[in-house]
């Protein structure tokens, strides 16, 4: 009886360690983040493309870990991948916003310059 209880505790512990569930949600969300960064044009912005590349590498490593059953490490790597992808996305948008500012500034200059020939 006591042995059984111990065995069950041991089982539970073993299960606890191994029972980190497959990080389905993060597998999906990290993929979404990478796609989002691409759509924001992260490949063509140097700084952003670096983080996009990191995200992709981390995600493919994570997927290998998922296949080998190391869900815990996989989960952390997916977190990294997602954070890198989100940052790539934001950097791409920041660059685009700054370009818009430049264009608006040029427009103002043009109007002001053209107004008084």
């Amino acid at each position: 009886m006591r042995n059984l209880a111990l065995a069950s505790v041991a089982l539970a512990l073993a299960a606890g360690c191994g029972s980190v569930p497959k990080p389905e949600a993060r597998i999906a969300s990290s993929e979404g983040s990478i796609r989002g960064a691409r759509e924001a044009g992260a490949q063509s912005v140097p700084q952003a493309s670096l983080y996009l590349k990191l995200a992709e590498e981390e995600r493919s490593k994570a997927m290998a870990l998922v296949r080998s059953g190391d869900y815990e490490r996989a989960n952390y790597l997916l977190m990294r991948a997602e954070a890198d992808a989100e940052l790539a996305n934001a950097l791409a948008r920041e660059k685009a916003a700054k370009q818009e500012v430049e264009q608006a500034s040029e427009r103002v200059e043009k109007i002001k310059g053209g107004g008084t020939p």
Binding site: R80, E86, L87, E100, V101, A104, S105
Partner: protein, 302 residues
């Protein structure tokens, strides 16, 4: 002695190594150091004002990494969580910068719209000014046209009046047309008593007619010439003829002939028109001539 010392040294080295190993595991990993720095940087960036929620997310991620460092120093997930916190801080900063850029853009767009409106208003005003100038010059042209027409009408009327007046004068007085102009000759004996230069009362009738005619002759110059016969000295005759010419000129001015347009000159006996040997001839030579000069030669004779 030597061996003992070496043993002690090895022991110390081992202890040191183990101590330093302990210290190393207690130190935060470079990922966490970077995360802290990134968060501080983000906090002071535009994100502090424009992206507080994102900055808060970054803070939570950093707190989680710090907690993991405290509870499980040296475990790999400390690095993972610090890595994530680092990216989240950078993310908040990038989003703050983007938001600041959009604010700037909105400001520039407003400025562009205002500049455009100003330019439009300026060109409209310029156009209106040009239209105004065109209208004004048109009005000016019309006014000038009207004026010249009016002037021409007036001039024609004045010329007719002048001609009529001279024609009327020709009927009642001795008027001849000569090279020097139209010459009105008045008999000296009708105007003055002998040797005097005071006009006789009977002279007024004739002189009034002359004044009325001359008044109409605008833009012409008149010369009143006094002439005498050859009785007496030339000096006396010259002076007398001058006084008589002056008297006639003054009378005409008093009766409306413009003073600047009339001059008087005494000729004395030097220009007789008849023979001084006869009484009739001398009577004819005593005369006053009023010359209406031709308009193309208005210079004062002397």
């Amino acid at each position: 002695m030597n061996r003992r010392r070496r043993t002690i040294m090895i022991g110390l080295a081992l202890a040191g190594a183990s101590l330093s190993a302990c210290a190393t595991t207690a130190l935060p990993p470079p990922e966490l150091v970077e995360a802290r720095a990134n968060y501080q940087k983000a906090e002071t960036s535009a994100a502090g004002r424009l992206k507080p929620a994102e900055l808060h997310d970054a803070k939570l991620a950093l707190d989680r990494a710090e907690a993991e460092q405290r509870s499980s120093p040296g475990e790999p997930q400390v690095k993972d969580l610090a890595y994530v916190a680092s990216r989240k801080a950078a993310l908040a900063e990038a989003q703050g910068n983007a938001a600041a850029a959009m604010e700037e853009k909105a400001k520039l767009d407003a400025e562009a719209a205002k500049a455009q409106a100003d330019a439009l208003a300026a060109s409209k005003k310029k156009l209106e000014g040009m239209e105004g100038a065109v209208a004004e010059s048109k009005a000016e042209a019309t006014r000038q046209k009207n004026e010249t027409e009016k002037e021409r009408t007036a001039r024609v009327a004045a010329e007719r009046k002048a001609q009529d007046a001279m024609e009327a004068l020709e009927k009642s007085l001795a008027v001849t047309r000569e090279e020097r102009g139209m010459v009105i000759t008045l008999s000296g004996s009708l105007l003055f008593a002998t040797g005097k230069s005071t006009l006789l009362p009977g002279a007024q009738n004739q002189l009034n007619k002359v004044a009325d005619a001359l008044k109409t002759q605008t833009e012409r110059h008149f010369v009143v010439e006094g002439h005498t016969d050859n009785v007496g000295t030339d000096d006396v005759n010259q002076a007398l003829s001058q006084r008589r010419a002056d008297a006639v000129r003054d009378y005409l001015i008093m009766h409306g002939v413009a003073a600047p347009s009339i001059s008087a000159v005494g000729k004395g006996p030097i220009q007789p028109i008849a023979d001084n040997k006869t009484v009739e001839g001398r009577a004819m030579n005593r005369r006053v001539e009023i010359i209406v000069q031709k308009p193309e030669a208005p210079s004062t004779p002397q």
